[in-house]
């Protein structure tokens, strides 16, 4: 059996990749995908721990996160589409009217 710590390291790696991608990408959709990667790395960690503890509640959490991520996608895509209508771009750097 693969030790839990391996999973956790993988999850942490994915999480870091996601977080860094949020920082460096400029396409709003890709940034959002990176956020999804962060959430899913949390899922991976959760499932790994749940397997270690033999505990069902950890796996339950994953389902909730997936559901929430779906809801977030709905809201996020709606926002991105709206903005695309106004600005004809999904470039996050185009959004800098509000500052100071």
């Amino acid at each position: 059996m693969v030790p839990t710590s391996f999973y956790i390291f993988l999850a942490a790696l994915l999480f870091t990749i996601g977080a860094v991608a949020v920082l460096v990408r400029r396409n709003t959709l890709i940034i959002y995908m990176a956020v999804e990667l962060m959430l899913n790395s949390a899922n991976l960690a959760f499932v790994a721990f749940a397997r270690q503890f033999g505990d069902i509640s950890g796996q339950l959490f994953v389902f909730f996160v997936i559901t929430i991520a779906a809801a977030e996608v709905a809201v996020g895509l709606a926002l991105i589409v709206t903005i695309f209508h106004t600005k004809h771009s999904v470039d996050i750097d185009a959004m800098h009217e509000l500052k100071g």
């Binding site: 949020v22 920082l23 460096v24 996050i92 750097d93 800098h96 500052k99 100071g100």
Partner: protein, 713 residues
């Protein structure tokens, strides 16, 4: 006699003490809601009545104290309760607080009466008669707040009053907030109010911290619980009392306008003259002196703080007196004089001469209020001669319908009725004002047997025994005091009139002169209550302050101080004698002797400018820097461009160097190009803004995790 029976048999009126707060508050409410409907007469009756009632209450407290000198604590309301901390609002009635009550409500009522007439003119000359009621609302509110301050039985209650009077001061300095003192549209008065408020907040920070420390180490803010434990705490933590007393001193320097926070008081003269008399001369600014006297146990346990306080007071007395020497504004002279005299008081209570300090507080309230009210009378006299109100039917020069003199003075400076250069020869035109003014001036100069002589002499006597350096400072200040007040009297009342208005000045109405005469009598005889051999005032305060050693009257000290005063008056007369013949003011004669120094003094040693440069500008710059630079430019430009993009560029250059050198050709070419290309893409990617915010989150997380790793290592 009823009163004697009361005094001897001990009928007490302590339970009436809360009325001294609530009746003025009632006046506030009545005038706030119905003031406009009642007209000036109604407003005046309510306001003077409320203040006078407070005075009657104060007198009754004094009578009660004669029978029961130990005083009483009168509970009013339960206020804050948190666990073990209970703060009830109660009034502490003892000889100290009642002294302050008497001064505040007594002098306060006189000034109220004066203001009834003064404000009648003022609101008309400033063009908004509707503001009459508002003035008395603030004035009564001030009396109420001052009563809360002086009767509070804990630091917290005192602080509430302290802030309350500060608020009233703020409101009244900015009473004509849309103009400057000459009635021109400007934010000058509003800025003066703001300055007073802000500077006082610095002092208040000290007071607040002192309260925190007190609560921390004493577990209470009640005077009755704090003071008995002073020695116990002093033995455990010697630095605590020093810290508390120094922080309190910071509060005092704010409220009582001492170095380094005195800069707000000269600007506070933007308020109407009765405000200057009541708040910025007689009562509120003395709250700091009261605070030190009230905390005398704490100060007694911190000798170093006492020395510092005495030095602060002594220096302020001297510096402010020097600034007063070269002012032209009749009220500015008095403002610096007030700072200087407050310096005397702070020096006195600072070195432990509490009776002397409080004594000077009382006499100063009399003669300084009189000086201010007299200057107000002069100002109104000139205004009325310059352009009489329509109701007086006069034909002034430049008289206009609205009483506004802002509109038709575009080309030249408008007439400034506060400028002493346009006065002169007023002794004949307004004799009552002039003679009462001269009495007050002599009292200030410390000429026997007027009130100021006795109290100042007592301070000097104590200083000579306790702190000789301060004695020297105060003596020098006394010299300058006599000099500048003589200069003022000569410029205003003697010589020839130097303007049309001064030549046609009219004496103020009876209501105003009546108050002046009353205060003149008090300034003349008020000193005898603690004259050598009498010491009634000292014995009265002993009930609160404990035994006070009475120093023997020292004819040398008294003689020297009288001599100093007389010499100064003589010198001033010698210097300014030349101006008696002038019909127009030219260069100040004193300037010939002092030259450049004169300008330094006239600009108040450039103190304001210094603060402007050091604090105000620095503070603004810091704020702007943090808002724009740190939040925006910093993250964006510095972090992204310099660190990430710059670093990447350098890295890519380093990586592409082998390519340029041709060491790795062919295959590597593609790699180098793509790295360079990526660098270009990256750099363009770095210009986003949301990214900055995410980066901040990221940095926060990383530093937290680094810390956690370090803490758990």
């Amino acid at each position: 006699m009823f009163l004697e029976t009361v005094a001897h048999e001990g009928a007490t009126f302590f339970h009436l003490a809360p009325l001294a707060v609530f009746v003025p508050l009632l006046g506030v409410l009545l005038n706030a809601f119905f003031g406009r409907r009642w007209g000036e007469r109604g407003v005046a009756i309510v306001a003077v009545g409320a203040s006078g009632f407070a005075f009657v209450i104060a007198v009754l407290q004094a009578l009660s104290l004669m029978a029961h000198p130990e005083g009483a604590v009168v509970p009013i309301a339960e206020w804050i309760t948190i666990g073990d901390l209970r703060v009830a609002w109660a009034q502490k009635i003892d000889t100290l607080s009642v002294t302050m009550m008497l001064v505040v409500s007594g002098v306060g009522t006189l000034i109220h009466i004066y203001a009834v007439s003064y404000m009648h003119y003022d609101v008309r000359y400033k063009g908004d008669p509707g503001r009459y009621a508002r003035f008395f609302v603030y004035f009564n509110l001030f009396i109420a707040m001052m009563m809360i301050l002086v009767t509070g039985d804990s630091y917290l209650t005192l602080f509430v009053g302290w802030e309350g009077v500060g608020l009233c001061s703020f409101l009244l300095i900015g009473f004509w907030y849309e103009m400057d003192i000459l009635g021109r549209p400007s934010t000058a008065n509003a800025r003066a109010a703001m300055k007073a408020f802000v500077v006082n907040r610095v002092g208040d920070a000290g007071f607040l911290l002192a309260m925190f420390l007190t609560f921390w180490f004493f577990g209470s803010l009640q005077f009755d619980e704090v003071f008995p434990r002073v020695h116990e705490v002093a033995a455990e933590h010697p630095w605590v009392l020093l810290a508390i007393s120094l922080l309190l001193l910071l509060g005092v320097t704010g409220k009582s306008a001492q170095i380094p926070l005195f800069v707000w008081l000269p600007d506070a003269m933007a308020g109407p003259t009765p405000v200057s008399a009541l708040i910025h001369a007689a009562t509120m600014v003395t709250a700091g002196v009261y605070l030190i006297t009230r905390s005398h146990e704490i100060y007694a346990a911190a000798p170093m703080a006492q020395e510092i306080a005495a030095m602060v007071g002594g220096l302020t007395a001297l510096v402010a007196a020097s600034m007063a020497v070269s002012q032209y504004d009749i009220k500015k002279v008095l403002a610096y004089s007030t700072i200087s005299q407050l310096g005397f008081m702070v020096a006195a209570v600072g070195m432990g001469a509490f009776v002397a300090g409080m004594f000077h507080l009382v006499t100063h309230a009399f003669f300084k209020a009189l000086l201010f009210l007299g200057s107000g009378s002069v100002i109104i006299a000139l205004e009325r001669a310059h352009h009489p109100l329509p109701e007086e039917g006069g034909h002034g020069h430049e008289h206009d319908e609205h009483g506004h003199h802002a509109e038709h003075h575009d080309e030249h400076e408008p007439f400034n009725p506060q400028d002493m250069r346009v006065m002169g020869g007023l002794l004949k035109r307004i004799p009552v004002t002039a003679w009462t003014y001269i009495i007050a001036a002599l009292a200030l100069a410390g000429i026997p047997p007027l009130a100021g002589f006795w109290s100042k002499d007592e301070i000097l006597l104590e200083a000579k025994h306790l702190q000789p350096v301060v004695y020297a400072l105060l003596s020098a200040a006394a010299f300058l005091t006599a000099f500048y007040i003589t200069r003022q009297v000569l410029m205003v009342f003697f010589g020839k009139p130097r303007s049309e208005a001064a030549a046609h000045a009219v004496e103020s109405p009876r209501l105003m002169t009546g108050v002046l005469v009353t205060l003149a009598v008090l300034s003349a005889v008020g000193g005898f209550m603690n004259a050598p051999g009498v010491h009634a005032f000292g014995h009265w305060l002993e009930h609160t302050l404990g035994h006070v050693p009475v120093l023997e009257f020292d004819p040398v000290v008294a003689g020297v101080s009288t001599l100093i005063g007389l010499v100064a008056i003589f010198l001033a007369w010698r210097v300014y004698r030349a101006t008696f013949a002038w019909t127009e003011w030219s260069q100040d004669p004193l300037r010939r002797y002092l030259r450049g120094l004169y300008d330094v003094l006239a600009h108040a040693w450039y103190w304001d400018e210094l603060y402007q440069v050091v604090f105000v500008r620095g503070y603004r710059a810091l704020a702007g820097f943090l808002a724009f630079a740190v939040d925006w430019t910093f993250w964006h430009d510095w972090f992204h461009d310099v660190l990430i993009a710059g670093g990447y560029r350098r890295l890519s250059r380093f990586l592409s160097q082998p390519v340029d050198l041709g060491i790795i050709d062919g295959i590597a070419n593609g790699l180098g190009n793509s790295v360079r290309g990526l660098a270009l893409v990256m750099r363009r990617l770095q210009s986003g803004y949301v990214r900055n915010y995410a980066l901040a989150v990221m940095l926060g997380v990383v530093s937290m995790l680094v810390y956690v790793a370090w803490a758990l290592r």
